[in-house]
Symmetry: C2
Subunit: 200 residues, 2 copies
DNA sequence: GAGATACACGGAGGTCCCTCCGCTTTCCCC
DNA sequence: GGGGAAAGCGGAGGGACCTCCGTGTATCTC
């Protein structure tokens, strides 16, 4: 219920620990990717990252089967900060406001992340996410929804997974759309959908 | 306010009419694409479509700069049917129910369309849409929202563009996600967000 | 420490995407 | 119908993605 991101020496859960060379290469790849993302604004061929890291392209793909997996590894630390903030917000605000605040927090993170990365292949994969990350997001949303159901500020009959889907879809849609359009009104609509209101 | 899709001999609005060979090629490409989509379930290289149509790949790209543009040309007729159904639903149902019904109608269309096509490059472009199509969708949503605002069944303070974004984002998110998950609960949430409810 | 074994590496190569520009065809005007 | 300009055509070619499998190397066992 409170998954934290995997320790650097055990990056994929309960499997046998990685071999020493594999762990070294993995770290090199993430470093190279981070540097490349920062340096060139995101439009970096994976081949380049592999070369920069001093590994073959095959090695990169074995560690990170999709581009998004690599992106998430690079930003794992920041994602921790974002998910942690849910608990803090919930302690300070009523659940509906906490939800709103957390959505905006996450949206900023996602926008910054994708802004620097997904220019790559126009509109590609913006907002896509690997299963573990998705589950972490859903867990935070569930926590807030439960608190909201107890206090009466939010509906009790909504599946947190559905909220995650709605949220990530919104990120995809806004990331690929025109940059003038703001995401906040959409987040507000999502929160409104979750408030107990007129009889449904 | 009621854009219908362009006539076949004037496919891109008010510009000079296409040259005869261009129009012929354009039609050939759409035919070939339709056949290819139906035949092979969607994973068709654009090169193949061009060859099948008897044109060069450059010609295909001039007519349809993105894959989605080609997809939309293939399905233009069906989209007409979908947008037309908005008016019919609005005549038969209260606006909130009409909205719900129309969203489901459109979702079925989008799912079928993408189900047969976007397998292509895993998760690519599902739900993306060209500007004219997007505007048509927004126009229908606006019509329903206006009716809802008059009858009091829907909020009056929502930008139809935002609803479009939410909707298309939802399609993207569900098209790429696991197929077991249903889109209907998400559409219900969107409609709920648009109902006048507790003071905001 | 030597042998065995599974794990991991690397990069060549096939596929697809998409641009670019010299050539061809249509259309307009006389 | 003939000439010229504008519109359109085609496909070679370069770039990126991603797979596949022969080779190399860490780890385990004795």
């Amino acid at each position: 219920m409170t998954p934290t991101h995997p320790a650097p020496d055990d990056p994929c859960g309960p499997g046998r620990p990685l071999r020493a060379d594999a762990r070294r290469n993995r770290e090199r790849i993430v470093s190279a990717a981070r540097a490349a993302f920062i340096a060139s604004g995101g439009a970096v061929p994976l081949d380049d990252i592999a070369r920069e890291a001093g590994v073959g392209i095959g090695t990169l793909y074995r560690h990170f089967p999709t581009r998004e997996a690599l992106v998430e590894a690079v930003y794992a630390g920041e994602l921790d900060t974002v998910t942690d903030s849910a608990r803090r917000l919930l302690a300070e605000l009523p659940p509906d406001e906490a939800l709103r605040a957390w959505l905006e927090r996450y949206a900023r993170f996602a926008a910054a992340k994708h802004g620097t990365i997904d220019t790559l292949r126009a509109g590609w994969a913006a907002g896509r996410i690997t299963a573990p990350t998705r589950e972490r997001v859903t867990a935070e949303i569930r926590t807030i929804l439960v608190a909201g159901a107890e206090s009466g500020a939010l509906r009790a009959d909504v599946d947190p997974e559905d909220v995650t889907t709605l949220l990530l879809g919104t990120f995809q849609a806004t990331a690929t759309g025109d940059p003038g359009r703001r995401v906040e009104p959409l987040l507000a609509l999502i929160v409104d959908a979750l408030r107990p209101g007129t009889p449904r």
